[in-house]
Symmetry: C2
Subunit: 217 residues, 2 copies
């Protein structure tokens, strides 16, 4: 059995791995977990002893098959709990992350599978992130964002690339929730801000905001 902390390291390495092909750096893990590089080195040695990560000094780190399995199952837990909190307990999409961070560490395959069934096997969490299936397969959205659309094009909101409370609250306030239909009215060339239509209302949205909204055409 792994500690809470060990599991969080695996999850962090998994998250960072998806962005980089080669080994993940000590520093990036430290930043992801708000800790120090020296602490990361210590922990990586431990995870390496347990054959959960591949590690060579100064060369970065990557997950072994076993380590990846564990990381994915934690992500699966996390996202299923988020669905539960939003769908069943009426939480808002900006309120569930911290609770799911705790709930994800409750390790019981039966619990996870029963929860999955109870929620009727959801494919995505409340932020549009894909929920890994029982075998650990994850089907990510294509990385097309609102910022990639041209004037006149239409799209549907399917996810977010930024999960901060403030961003999520902002999106909700202008009805940019999952499933919302968007039409691009205009793009300001100067700062790439957009005038868009959502729910028959027109709003302006900054580039900073539009490039974090995942869209399906």
């Amino acid at each position: 059995m792994l500690t809470f902390t060990e599991e969080n390291y695996l999850k962090a390495i998994f998250k960072l791995s998806s962005k980089k092909i080669d080994g993940v750096s000590t520093n990036s893990i430290a930043e992801e977990l708000s800790t120090k590089a020296s602490s990361v080195t210590d922990m990586i040695k431990k995870l390496s002893d347990k054959k959960l990560v591949k590690y060579k000094k100064y060369q970065g780190v990557s997950l072994t098959k076993k380590g990846k399995q564990i990381a994915v199952s934690i992500v699966r837990n996390h996202r299923l709990w988020e669905v539960f909190l939003v769908e069943k307990l009426n939480f808002k999409w900006d309120e569930v992350h911290d609770l799911a961070e705790d709930l994800e560490h409750i390790n019981s395959e039966k619990l996870t599978d029963q929860l999955d069934a109870f929620l009727e096997f959801p494919k995505y969490d409340p932020h549009g992130d894909p929920i890994p299936d029982k075998d650990g397969n994850v089907y990510n959205h294509k990385d097309e964002t609102l910022a990639d659309l041209q004037k006149g094009e239409k799209g549907i909101v399917v996810g977010v690339k930024e999960h901060s409370k403030s961003y999520l609250k902002y999106l909700e306030s202008i009805n940019l929730v999952l499933g919302a239909e968007i039409k691009i009215n205009d793009i300001v060339e100067f700062d790439n801000s957009m005038s868009i239509s959502v729910n028959k209302k027109t709003v302006n949205i900054s580039h900073q905001a539009s490039k974090n909204l995942i869209i399906k055409k």
Copy 2:
């Protein structure tokens, strides 16, 4: 914020307090938590510093108002999660304890209250133990057990005093579940075992088993 361990100590002291009027002994806490008396002494000092327990050397320990509040809220969490696991996720009553031991430590008043509402404000957990309300009030069953009934009397199963897997499984195998109606056919004077009727079937039950089954006449 308290650690997992600190919370477990408070819960243990709360449990033991309900059986004794004066201070709870170091040894009994050690036994309850499967740890050593010396560890208990150390932790009690810490909890005392935090004003969660009243403690005088060699005189045992008792919860302060604040300590009791925390303990009760953990018990509330525990029992609500047990209801969730049984009612919503189809767990058996002998499978939920360990999971609830983990889930109970997720501290969020909102989570607890929303869960309570989602479950439609249950009064008892799957073992018949009362669920403390939001204000910390607990309404225990009268301590009348099957062993207290006389020949010819009838009763309804409302709870158990022993929570082991083996006992719970055994009860279920003879249909002695919450709500079951029992009639005492006969009592063997020699060993106080009983012949009883449940669901129109007749079974024999030992004194050891009957004295742990809480009954309402």
